[in-house]
């Protein structure tokens, strides 16, 4: 049994009290599936980061005499129709796909959460104006928007990320707004007001942490949809252009040659799906870990 003195000393060891995030990390560590997901994602990221140094070939190195060959000792995952090493292309493609996925999603997350939280918390006329603006953006066809951007500013990877992020935040803003609206009327928010907390502190400390569940779930859904959107745009010639590659592009070429050269579809597909699996495991784990109610063994 802990005596009161030992409790105080253990408290003193934790100068900032318990933060939700710290506690969440302790709980996440116990979730094997989530930790596997996190580990795999980190591994993929490190490998992609180091690709220029560890890739066996250059991404545009062709060997036309070779053509498409199935996996061998020289080309572990085979080659494509131009005789380019598939492993190399998957590694380089991962750089683009992960970058698009994470950067665009981060943009969507930051804008969406901030925008939705403000609209939901302030309410009234401001909310009406802000949400009508979202409705208008929703109504704009994405393709036209992106094509216009590309035409005006030229094809630019960074711009692509921003453009995708600028579309994906709309749904996030709606989700966060409705969550915040429901939470706003709860008594603990009134209690925070009566303590004298400023509105921004109430939003950051009390509202957003309680809306994290849906935010995380939607984020883990956004990352794959962003990666696929990039593939689609690249396919239309608006995104990445060969000889550069991304997972989405590799898969769409793989589909065309599926019958003769199945490995061109299988391996990029595997890379994408393993990454998405890991993301989902991690997302689920995070959602549970951030909810103190979810179980505390």
């Amino acid at each position: 049994m802990a005596t009161s003195t030992s409790t105080e000393s253990s408290l003193l060891a934790m100068p900032k009290g318990v933060s939700l995030w710290r506690d969440a990390w302790l709980r996440l560590r116990k979730n094997k599936l989530a930790m596997f997901g996190l580990g795999f994602l980190l591994l993929v990221m490190v490998v992609c980061l180091l690709t220029p140094w560890i890739a066996p070939y250059g991404y545009e190195e062709q060997d036309l005499r070779l053509g498409a060959v199935s996996p061998s000792a020289a080309h572990w995952l085979g080659t494509d129709t131009f005789g380019r090493d598939l492993l190399t292309r998957i590694l380089y493609g991962g750089r683009v796909s992960l970058l698009v996925g994470f950067v665009a999603t981060a943009v969507a997350l930051v804008i969406g959460v901030a925008y939705g939280a403000i609209a939901g918390y302030v309410g009234g006329k401001l909310d009406a104006v802000m949400m009508r603006f979202v409705d208008i953006l929703y109504a704009l066809p994405i393709m036209i928007f992106i094509i216009l951007l590309m035409v005006v500013f030229g094809r630019n990877l960074l711009l692509l990320f921003l453009a995708i992020g600028a579309i994906e935040w709309l749904t996030m803003a709606r989700i966060v707004r409705s969550q915040v609206q429901n939470l706003r009327d709860q008594e603990f928010v009134e209690a925070a007001m009566s303590l004298g907390l400023s509105p921004s502190a109430i939003v950051v400390k009390h509202l957003i942490p309680n809306a994290l569940g849906p935010i995380i779930v939607y984020t883990t859904l956004t990352i794959p949809s962003v990666m696929l959107l990039e593939a689609f745009l690249s396919f239309l010639g608006l995104g990445i252009q060969p000889p550069e590659s991304s997972w989405g592009l590799l898969i769409s070429y793989g589909v065309e040659t599926m019958e003769e050269y199945p490995w061109l579809l299988i391996f990029p597909g595997l890379a994408l799906s393993l990454t998405l699996f890991s993301l989902n495991f991690l997302g689920d784990g995070l959602r549970d870990a951030l909810d103190p109610k979810a179980s505390r063994d």
Partner: protein
Amino acid sequence: MPLLQVTDLSVYFHTRNGVLKAVDGISFEVEAGKTFAIIGESGSGKSVACYSMLGLVPMPPGKIEAGRVLFEGKDLLTLSEAKLRKIRGKGISIIFQDPMTSLNPFLTVGDQLIEPLRLHFPISKKEAWNKGIEILEEVGIKNAAQRMCSWPFEFSGGMRQRVVIAMALVTEPKIIIADEPTTALDVTVQAQILKLLKELQEKRNIGVIFISHDLSVVADIADQMAVMQNGRFVEQGTRDEIFTNPQHDYTRKLLAAVPNFEKPEQENKSEQNLVEVESLHIQFPSNRGEAPIKAVDDVSLDIKPNEILGLVGESGSGKSTLGRAIIRLLNPTSGKIRFDGQDITRLSMAEMKPLRRQMQIIFQDPYASLNPRMAVYDTLAEPLLLHKIVTKKDLDGAVCSLMDSVGLSRESVLRYPHEFSGGQRQRIAIGRAIATKPGFIIADEPVSSLDVTIQAQILDLLLELVERFNLTMLFISHDLGVVRYLADRILVMKEGKLVEHGTVHQVFNSPREVYTQELLNAIPGRTLTD
């Protein structure tokens, strides 16, 4: 021959954390035209006991371990789901606690009313509809024929509970299980519903199982009763036996927990008022260009230092709105609020911040008033850091001493709200409110969602803190008994207006207004003191 005979019923829940004996070997009988009341606090197993008879307890994790429930010569526990469905709603029906959620908001009252009829009897829609009208009239709903086409939201809480009762009665069951049927209602409405239930029961010779946490409600209506704790009947007998000669300690504790005691009158000689409210109006805009709703209508009051002012009224009377306006959680339409001599009516939220330290509020529902994602430590530390009452260095000590003040163990300081019981949560909320050492606290129904024995503990804690920290308190409640227990003066509010004020003694013994009289008459359990 009793209508229902329960012998040795045991229902266990098999959870990951072990076996929970929700109901542990209870036996009782229900006779026609009589009421059997089961009294217990939340979690005592009283609802599980009744629902398990009808197969309404989820299994697993629940499991009926033993027992027999004889109804019309059949053992309900051995019947198949299909056969049980024929008994549910026809032989035995249930009245649920909260009429706001027990009616389907997307069906008219009439459609819901005839549903059980059409289910259990071969009857045409027209016949069923006519029967529905009859039964609505019987439960005291005027213009029944037109009201059949109304939606649930068009009824008040009390009226909805009448509809729920009508639904339970329409199939002419032999037994009704009434699960806290009046807990969600105002006192005057509660008195009406209890009277209605009693009348219908006598007229139709129905056996009633009445589940409640409130001894005083049961005192008026029970014939036989049982006191339940941790799945067992600790005491069982006629109403008079239990109320006049309780055998078990727990029963005595429950009886003692009903505050039936008037605070001795003390003269408050203070000349100054801590809080002054002058002809305050608060209006809320209403829909479709109708006149705005007057939530608070020309209210003036003052609160002297170190007094506890009780503010009594039924739901919708504007008492909570008034309380929130006084500490400027919402903006008054007109009027003046002075705190400690300073006019705070039009201060901005930023200007209010330094004053917040001196005025705090305790809310009704300790499940909603604590941030579920903040550990107790952070909840208590927040006001301390915000108002720079302690430095980070001394924070641990300050939080621990707050825990001591409200009677919680220091070990639990790193836990989250859901790990605490309702009473403990309310202690946390009280701890947060007194953290800044405020002079003035508004307690908005702080005990009405708690069990009776817990209520008494929390009230005593509040009284102790008032004494210790020289607090001034505005105590808002619908429960006159509770207010009588701790207030010095009482204000009665009705439809946004103050209708009566005076010392506790004056209001209870010589109320001037008819409405106050009504409220006093509606207090359940007067048969106890008579």
